[in-house]
Symmetry: C2
DNA sequence: TTAATATATTATTATGTTCGCATATATTAA
DNA sequence: TTAATATATGCGAACATAATAATATATTAA
C-alpha cells in the first residue's frame, strides 16, 4: 500500500494548521527575516517563535542563513506561498457565502 | 489586530494535517462518493470515517447530498484540490532533492 | 410494525501539540 | 577572557486530536 505518501503529505501540511506558523509564512513571503525581526513583528516570546521556526525548518518549509549573530529565515519553496494563498481564497469565499446567507435570512 | 484571520486560516488548513482526511480528498477529487464507498476503499472503520467527514463538513470543505439511505460527500470548493496538489508537489520536490543528496553522498 | 442497511454521535482512552520557563549555545565586541 | 546579544533546546503542564467501541438515528423494504 502507498499510504505513506499521505502521512508525509499530512506532515508538511500540518505546518499550516497553526496560526502563528501561518503568520510567519506571511511575513516571509517577500523575503528573509531574522528571528528578532519576526519576533518583534509578531509580539510573541522569542523562545516560542524559535520552536515554530525549528519545526518548519525540520520539515523543509524554511531555510536559514547565518549572518554574524543573526539567523535569517526564508521560505524554501515559493509554491508553499501559492498553496497558502489558495487556501486563504477558499476561506474568504466561505466567509462571503456566509455573509450573503446572513443577509438573506435578515431580510426574510 | 487582524490575527483572527490566521486562526480561521489555520482551522481550515488543519483538515490537511491528517492522512486519512487527505485520502478522502483524493478519493473525492473526481466526484462524490457515499460513506460506504469511501469506507470500503479506505479500509477503515465506518465510525472513524464518519468522524473525519463530519469535521470536514463542519469546516466547509465537504458538502453532502442524501439519496435514499446513502449520503454522498463531495468537495465544496475545487480550489481545495488545487492547494492539495501544490502541497503534494512541494513534498515530491523535497523528496527528489533528498534522493539526489543521498546519491551524491554515496558516490563521494 | 419489524428488520436490514447506512450513517452519525458519544464516551473513553491514547497520543500529539502548544506554551512558558529555565537554561544552553553561538557570535561579536570589549 | 568576560559581557552582551541572538538564537536554540529540554522539560512539564494544559490542552487538543484521533481511534476505538458502543450506541443511536434515519431510510427503505418486507
Amino acid at each position: 500500500m502507498n499510504k505513506w505518501i499521505y502521512e508525509l503529505h499530512a506532515r508538511i501540511c500540518n505546518i499550516f494548521s497553526n496560526p502563528k506558523r501561518l503568520e510567519v509564512i506571511d511575513l516571509l513571503r517577500n523575503g528573509e527575516k531574522s528571528v528578532n525581526e519576526l519576533s518583534s513583528l509578531m509580539n510573541i516570546p522569542q523562545t516560542n517563535l524559535s520552536q515554530h521556526l525549528s519545526l518548519m525548518r525540520q520539515r523543509g518549509m524554511l531555510e536559514t542563513r547565518r549572518d554574524g549573530v543573526n539567523i535569517y529565515y526564508s521560505i524554501a519553496n515559493p509554491k508553499a506561498i501559492k498553496a497558502f494563498d489558495i487556501m486563504r481564497e477558499v476561506l474568504l469565499e466561505q466567509l462571503s457565502r456566509n455573509e450573503k446567507l446572513i443577509k438573506k435570512l435578515k431580510s426574510a
